[in-house]
Symmetry: none
Amino acid sequence: MRELSVKTESKILLLILDGLGGLPMDPSGPTELEAADAPSFDALAARSDLGLSLPVAAGVSPGSGPGHLALFGYNPLRHVVGRGVLSALGVGFDLGENDLAARLNFATLDESGKISDRRAGRIPSEKGTQLVELLNENVALDGVETFVTHEKEYRAVAVFRGEGLSDSLADSDPQRVGLEPLPVKPTDHSPEAERSAALANAFVDQANEILRDQHPANTVLMRGFGMHPALPSFEEIYELDAAAIASYPMYKGLARLAGMELLKEGEGIAGEFETLRENWDHHDFFFLHVKPTDAAGEDGDFGRKAAVIEEVDAQIPDLLDLGPDALAVTGDHATPAKLKSHSWHGVPFLLSSPYTLPTAESFGERACAGGSLGAFPAEEIMGLLMGHALKLNRYGA
Amino acid sequence: MRELSVKTESKILLLILDGLGGLPMDPSGPTELEAADAPSFDALAARSDLGLSLPVAAGVSPGSGPGHLALFGYNPLRHVVGRGVLSALGVGFDLGENDLAARLNFATLDESGKISDRRAGRIPSEKGTQLVELLNENVALDGVETFVTHEKEYRAVAVFRGEGLSDSLADSDPQRVGLEPLPVKPTDHSPEAERSAALANAFVDQANEILRDQHPANTVLMRGFGMHPALPSFEEIYELDAAAIASYPMYKGLARLAGMELLKEGEGIAGEFETLRENWDHHDFFFLHVKPTDAAGEDGDFGRKAAVIEEVDAQIPDLLDLGPDALAVTGDHATPAKLKSHSWHGVPFLLSSPYTLPTAESFGERACAGGSLGAFPAEEIMGLLMGHALKLNRYGA
């Protein structure tokens, strides 16, 4: 890709409806997407290449991290991104390549030193912000800088910055109440992991001291240690000036890993599309992420998931007025209401450009199963978009 | 898979109709499966994911070994299993990781030392058993133990047990009558291969002496040298307690390579399904192998192959009463009656679970070609089954 990509005027849009893929509740019934009254998606499908995109591996349900890495063209098995890294990027922390990040939960220790609440009574965000400030003012570790950033309610992110760190560390969160927090242990025998474990444990000790009188938030649990994966950026691989519109921290974080600029999104789905229109002239690649499809699927709410799809459908005419040269609509994985969770199923995929081979009159899982792209790895989506936008040179003479 | 697999109560059944895939005799006609009157398979297809499974590589017709390795989730190009190994496992020999196995044919040498019959007049099994005993009592090789096990009629298996052996050896069987047997030659220059060749030739020399008066079975031909491939077991990879029901030695052998327990099968196809029912409570994975589809295809008997499919179809209602959580029906390869041999074509594949996207009302090659799974590597079947049985954790955050 790096060798073939060329800078052109054409514009690409990758529209992700999180967890778009669905299943029929009964074998003969429609999926969420098939049930949705989505005339604009259907009209688009009738001039698009269709297929089912496969996020990670057969039978494997991906988390949002691997799901998005694949959408962005990175092999999700080769590139592993720790949860702490996603959280750090999501809150806008400028994570460097030497930084070690971990998720932090404020939690409650009882008098015997056991965890009585892993979420500190779900303290409000204002309280969380104050506690984060307290930690930032008072924690001091040998040889590394420490940054704590508030995420939401009882959740925060800790970053250690310094040479010679490692993310080969196990969580301190025992995942159950009534147990003592675990000391952070290295998961390999490298000196970097030993040192990083010692730093993490010193951090927890100091936090316990600082938070002593802050019941119910009188301790922190650390989990999801991770270091920046140092992915090559969209600029480097595709010569794209890429921008991202997403309302949730994790998806902003994923976009930043690929070197995308984060655009300040408006309110709700309509607001995200408004942001797209406002910024259309300033970038040649846009990633627009819609979250509520996934949330509805996780809730098992077939009707609400279809309604979110309809809400996005209503934005499509204005979107097409912008004139994207290549437009893909898909999800990072399936979240069938029937399963109430992420799943391994193929995700409906549509690619609209002047150079397509349409095969159906509607956008849905079954129409996509019979499409010209067949079932294909999601990792190939970026190549398809680049090709359809005429941004790739011929390979070979 | 190893990291994601979890032990649950759910049960998986992999039902293999050997050589299931077929072709129309005329382009507009039906395949064997399409022609079969198989109402239970059709009803199952209407609530299943469909696809065409591809055993090894485009255009490549697999033997039973690679075909089954792929079904069991092992890459059939990376893991090579010698025919001798399959035979040894098939007769129930407890092959160890240092053991070198080869197939043995009793054959006839004429007075000039040339082979006049490669199958020794197809001696009956009783005679074969006696000759194997003679060899076991009288062969003695330096530095290795030797085990000869009778297979059927003129066929047996020889195993050399000892350190430092190699299967880089060419057959002694010249594959034609009227020629002298070949000395076993090493196919690389390793000391292990040189030593193993010398042992094999010493074995043939001793056998010639021992069998001198046993005309027509007065020599042995050695072929298909192989060593145990040391595959990780189903228990290790998938945390499955797997059992196999197969009536032919080779398929038992293949199942043993994957660490499956062999269940004593009843008579014929109905007997195999009876064995399944009897053992249903004792395992969480079952491989049930039906052979006669392949045999009919090899004979070019389109009608008989369809009739075997109908015979299996009649077992499906009782099978479904067991309530498998994930059920796959497919073949290890195609054996179209039109070709009278194994072929490279995609094999009809059906996966039934509560979490499917049905796309057709019948089970057949063309219905499968339009299915939601598309054409996909057979190596992915185990992942799909594990996913549909909800036995895989999510990958990544």
